[in-house]
């Protein structure tokens, strides 16, 4: 029994690896062309389901051990890499929080995969979907189980990328791709916060292991706050709290099972999980806690009012989720972390069921959708605001997107009008290709042509040197050197002619005699 107790936690690395292997297997099937026809569907689905199921079984085994003999705590499976003083181990934190949430994750993921097998039957991107789902399961399990911040970040990114893939699942629709882009770009802001947190941890603490990070007593309030702030920003972005909320409504573009697992049940709660995980650190930064509570409250209100005015099932569910997650943030902000954890687990299970069932609601419903309540009707401004989702998206467009676009346009103009001309690059690839294709005959005389400032200089220099060269050489019959030689030659001929006449010969002889004498 003791041997098992020793061994089992060491297998923790298998848990996130299994879904990852499933993703790799499905990717291989796609690459090798085994993704055509009905017959190809069951194997792909089976790979994903079995791997997720195996991870779930492993987790359940760990749970039993943990219940009976206590949680294993921090487990180290090896070293990822070392670089100078920085050592990055592959470690897992197996405590009550991570084990329970991980079990929940694996459970919901397995169930959703089983559900999707029929739901996505004969869909064009069947294999792609299971690939993304397996990737997501791996990422989510890694977020929950990881023993250090860097490994958590790996999971965080895996989840982000797979979310992007599945929002853009129907990539032939422009809305799907633009929404996917929007979602992943918003999440990047959170990722930047995450990286900031990791860097600060390395600089100040020299380690990124969760236990060391959370129980670092030598940090002052301000440092602890700054360190936590990065992770809080990441959590806010991932859980779609107020300034970042709009992306999640756009994320519904993906297939329903993926919406269920990403935005209903699991990924949206990743931020809450991160906050709960950071409990000791957050308690050192009270100001941050109040900020979290305020933002949570705002999100809850935002979700509540916007939710009242929605008319489609998924959006209504989405805003309900946002409200609930906002409530969890309030709980965290007020220091009720245990309550938030329970809320998380229950809400995830319930919402996963609701999302998966949402396509059937259409059949179950007896009458038309209930209208927005009368009291909201009567408050014109609030109603408009709720309908417009409080203009959050327009606000971010106005604050971030438009200035960025303008800046990029300006830089592009600079590039086209100044830099390219100076360097001599063609305006754009299209233009030059067109010129080569159509202007071939016209430009024949212009092979030797430089473009840009440097090119013009080279052209000028080449012309000068060419002139110099043709004077230097005897190439042309009428070159200057040739003419000079010809003139000298003619003089010599004349002198020769004169010398051959007797009188000059006599003159020379006499001159010689005079000199001698």
């Amino acid at each position: 029994m003791n041997g098992l107790l020793e061994l089992a936690p060491q297998l923790a690395w298998l848990i996130p690896l299994l879904p990852l292997l499933a993703a790799a297997g499905i990717a291989l099937r796609i690459l090798s062309g085994h993704d055509k026809g009905d017959g190809a569907e069951p194997p792909s689905a089976r790979i994903a389901i079995y791997c997720a199921g195996a991870a779930l079984l492993l987790l359940l085994g760990l749970d039993v051990l943990a219940l009976g003999w206590g949680v294993p705590g921090q487990v180290r499976s090896g070293i990822w890499f070392t670089s100078g003083a920085i050592v990055l181990p592959i470690s897992f934190t197996l405590d009550a929080l991570s084990l329970s949430i991980a079990t929940l994750v694996a459970f919901i993921a397995t169930l959703t995969l089983i559900f999707s097998r029929n739901y996505l039957h004969r869909e064009l991107g069947f294999h792609r979907f299971f690939f993304g789902m397996s990737l997501f399961t791996a990422g989510m399990l890694l977020i929950v189980l990881a023993g250090n911040v860097a490994l958590t970040f790996v999971g965080w990114e895996l989840a982000g990328v797979s979310s992007w893939m599945l929002i853009g699942y129907a990539y032939e629709r422009p809305t799907a791709t633009s929404n996917a882009l929007r979602a992943i770009v918003t999440n990047r802001i959170g990722d930047a916060g995450f990286i900031l947190g990791i860097s600060l941890a390395f600089i100040w603490l020299g380690t990124v292991e969760w236990p060391a990070l959370l129980h670092a007593n030598r940090l002052g309030t301000l440092s602890a706050g700054l360190l936590a702030l990065g992770f809080v920003v990441a959590a806010l972005a991932k859980s779609a709290q107020v300034p970042f909320s709009p992306w999640i409504a756009r994320a519904l573009e993906g297939p329903t099972p993926s919406s269920a697992i990403f935005y209903g049940a699991l990924m949206v709660h990743a931020g809450v999980f991160l906050l709960i995980r950071m409990e000791p650190l957050l308690r050192q930064a009270p100001a941050l806690m109040s900020l979290i509570a305020v933002l949570g409250l705002l999100t809850a209100l935002y979700g509540y009012f916007s939710g009242l005015t929605q008319t489609d099932v998924k959006s209504a569910l989405m805003f309900a989720t946002t409200t609930q997650v906002g409530l969890m943030f309030i709980a965290c902000g007020l220091g009720w972390f245990t309550l938030a954890a329970w809320h998380l687990g229950l809400h995830a299970s319930w919402r996963a069921y609701q999302f998966l069932a949402s396509p059937s609601y259409m059949h179950l419903m007896g009458g038309p959708t209930r209208a927005a309540p009368a009291w909201l009707h009567n408050k014109q401004r609030l109603y408009t605001a709720a309908l417009q989702r409080f203009w959050l998206e327009q606000l971010s467009d106005w604050l971030l997107v438009r200035p960025t676009q303008q800046l990029s346009r300006d830089i592009r103009n600079l590039d086209d009008n100044v830099v390219s001309r100076l360097v001599g690059l063609p305006d754009s690839a299209v233009v030059s290709a067109f010129m080569v294709a159509s202007g071939e005959e016209k430009n024949q005389d212009k092979v030797v042509r430089g473009s840009g400032l440097a090119g013009a200089f080279l052209e000028w220099l080449a012309l000068k040197l060419h002139r110099f060269e043709s004077r230097l050489l005897f190439q042309d019959g009428d070159s200057r050197l040739g003419r000079i030689l010809a003139r000298i030659g003619s003089y010599l001929v004349a002198v020769e002619g004169l010398l051959s006449q007797p009188r000059y010969l006599l003159l020379i002889i006499m001159a010689t005699l005079v000199v001698i004498l």
């Binding site: 290709a433 080279l458 080449a462």
Partner: protein, 483 residues
Amino acid sequence: MLRALFLLPIVGAVIIALLPGSNPRLIRFAALLASGAAMGLAWGLLGVFDPALAGVQLFETHVWNPRLGSAFSLGVDGFSFPMVLLGTLLTVVTILASNCITKRVKGYYALILLLESGMLGVFMARDWSLFYVFWELTLIPLFFLIDRWGSENKHRAALNFVLYTMGGSVFMLVALLLLYDANPGHSFDVASIAQGARSLSQEAQILIFLGLLIGFGVKVPIFPLHGWLPLAYVEAPSPIPILLSGILAKMGSYGLIRAAEMLPLAVQALQGWLAALGMISMIYGGVLAWHQRDLKKMVAYSSMSHMGVVLLGIATLNEAGLTGAVMQMVAHGLVAGSLFLLIGLLYERTNTRDIAEFSSLVQVMPRFAFFTVLALVAAVGFPGTAGFIAEVHVLIGGFARWSGWVIILSMSVLISAAYAFRTVGRLFTGPVREEMRLIPDLGRAEFAAVSVLASGILLVGIFPTTVLGLISASVRQLSKVFG
């Protein structure tokens, strides 16, 4: 051994002269056999040649004229041996590429073999009088090769070429006689003359060196002495520039290295001027190459530009720079050889060399296009090709000596990239021309010749130690002379 290497081509030429002229294939085969045997012998010497030794190896000497103190002495060291290898290789390539010669085949091949003999003699001679004889000996076959088998302006080109070289040779001869005069040992032997020369005053050394510089500079060619180059390269029958630029130009830079070895005070005094000449040649040749529409002229001027790099490398007088100079001699031999070969083959097929006439040749002649791109890329000095190794060494050596001035070398690389990639662009873009749709790709013999050169370019570029190992001992010894 070296005597046999020198005599082999001559024997081949004599045999060809005796063969009936009515069978060109037999003559071609005999020429190939003779040059191939010379190549086999030269490359076989790799087994005998010890690269660890800096001095002259495989030395042999026979008294020639005891009263004058001249001797028939041959020997090779780290500077000359790579040139011997390159020369025998390029001769075989030239003969392989000579399918287009259909008139007076007998004379053509005999002259090429005589040329090979003279050229090998120049590199192997260990006696200055012998060196001079061989130097002049290369002129005669070349004059006839250009004058008899060249294109339109062949007479003027041949005359121009010979006059320029002879004009230079006069200065060289005077300088050699002055050296002989200063030599108390009364001998033309290279080592003995070097000893005598080093005891001369700096002024005398400079005067003598200037004479040698003019003589060798014509062959390289260095900037104001290049008047023969465009005509001779363009008018010569298409295989001949392979030899002319690939190996005969190296005789000039090789002579300069020998002169520097002999007259260290003069070279040190003129170091800056030599570097300036090298840089001017680089930029001047590069810009004019860029200006040309005629592909052959373009390569001719680019050849001048690349030889400027050799001169710059010699002028650094340090180990890196000298290594770069010798590497550039090898690299340029391979690169210029393959470029002239390819352009000659293209000219035979299309009867035009105007760059504007070509477009999308890659679709018609994929093999030709591939090798041309490789050669052009090597000419620019891309990493992984022989040119890169050479340029990097010259850059390092030059930077140690003149720091920022080596930016001119980078400029010339930039200019060479401009014309090289313009040519590449022409080969790869645009519509396929109707009249060029049926041009045959490289034939078997041509393919063999080009791929040998191309693999040499890549081999030296990827495993530079193969050549560096051959030359390093001699280069180190020479650089020690200058401290």
